[in-house]
């Protein structure tokens, strides 16, 4: 089970948004602008990798040895919340432009189910530290990919005739469904 397979599988075959239905709120909410979706994609990638780097050791070297693995949900989500706070402070001080542009969506990264799911997957799949990091990068790439794809499509939708009953949100989900059909084609890619 080499690292390349883990990465490609996370990026395409089991794409976090399109195949696993995670991070949908931000997917629908933040793809109206291509710049916004790219920014969000990178922010989520950053937090996901950091969260993996933090939660994996905490689980294996603290929770398990002390027999308190039942605190996994509590500890992991608090770690993510703390990381997002730190990112917020850092951006506010050093990159105020981005901080203002992201607005309310920055703290909302905490509730991004993809990030928490990655931290859980690392444990349930029995990955070692390196594999976990590669997986985190792959999933983040998959998220960025899905965000950018939908943002691009939404630009086109603005100028296309849409049947009345699909206008607004429904057409976004139909479009997503169609992209997903394409992604299902990746299934046989990794043999």
């Amino acid at each position: 089970m080499n690292l390349g397979t883990i990465f490609l599988s996370a990026l395409l075959v089991e794409n976090v948004v399109l195949m696993r239905f995670l991070a949908l709120c931000s997917y629908i909410g933040m793809t109206s602008d291509l710049g916004q979706s790219t920014g969000m994609g990178f922010a989520v990638a950053f937090v996901t990798v950091l969260a993996t780097a933090a939660t994996w050791p905490i689980y294996h070297f603290i929770l398990v040895p002390l027999g308190i693995s039942f605190l996994q949900i509590l500890v992991f989500i608090l770690v993510i919340a703390a990381l997002v706070q730190l990112v917020e402070f850092y951006l506010k001080k050093n990159v105020p432009g981005l901080y203002l542009a992201m607005g309310i969506y920055l703290p909302l990264i905490t509730t991004n189910c993809a990030i928490l799911a990655v931290t859980f997957d690392n444990i349930s799949k029995g990955y070692n530290f390196i594999e976990a990091l590669v997986y985190a990068v792959g999933v983040s790439g998959g998220y960025l990919l899905a965000m950018v794809l939908l943002a691009g499509i939404r630009q086109r939708i603005k100028n296309s005739p849409i049947p009345k009953f699909l206008q607004g949100t429904p057409i976004l989900f139909v479009a997503t469904g169609l992209i997903t059909v394409a992604f299902m084609g990746f299934a046989g890619m990794i043999k």
Partner: protein, 207 residues
Amino acid sequence: MKRLLNILLRGIITENPLLMLMIGLCSALAVTTTVANGIGMGLAMTFVNVFAELVISLFRKLIPNDARIPIFIIVIAAFTTIVDLSMKAYFPALSKSMGVFIPLIVVNCIIMGRVEAFAYKQPPLDAIFDGIGMGLGYTWVLVGIAAVRELLGAGTVAGIQIMPSSFQPILFFTFPPGGFIVFALFISLNIWLNKLKTAGAAAREAA
């Protein structure tokens, strides 16, 4: 009493979290391949929602505003863990089939949203009814989507064969694309029903 009933109905219909407010979507599409999963997820989420809203409402005077988000997280995470452990112990098959989505209840935007917007400012009894209402609203949409997906994708509803045996299951509906498309149709249906309702109300006003 009427007030409490209104709170309940609001979550179920007028401010339905999935169809109107469009939050808490992730789990709604992932676990709706079968009706059993849909009911299980709905009940699990309702449990966490009701108790989280109750506890936050009970302690609302003691929770300082600046530290409220971490405290909300702690309370929601605690109840999510309780549901997770209980399901693993007493409903292992269901727990396995829902996988990571039970622990993911902790980041369900609906619960976070209600706790912040409602439970933090309202008395406990109201909070309980809001929790139940939002939970029921979430559950019925989940079961609805699941019923369509299971019926068309496997010919069964809740494991009971409904379609005649000559029916060829359309596997498309159990796959992710099918989920997205069915959800799109549900939203579309809901928008149309709301248009009818406002048109009807306007007509009554004009009359």
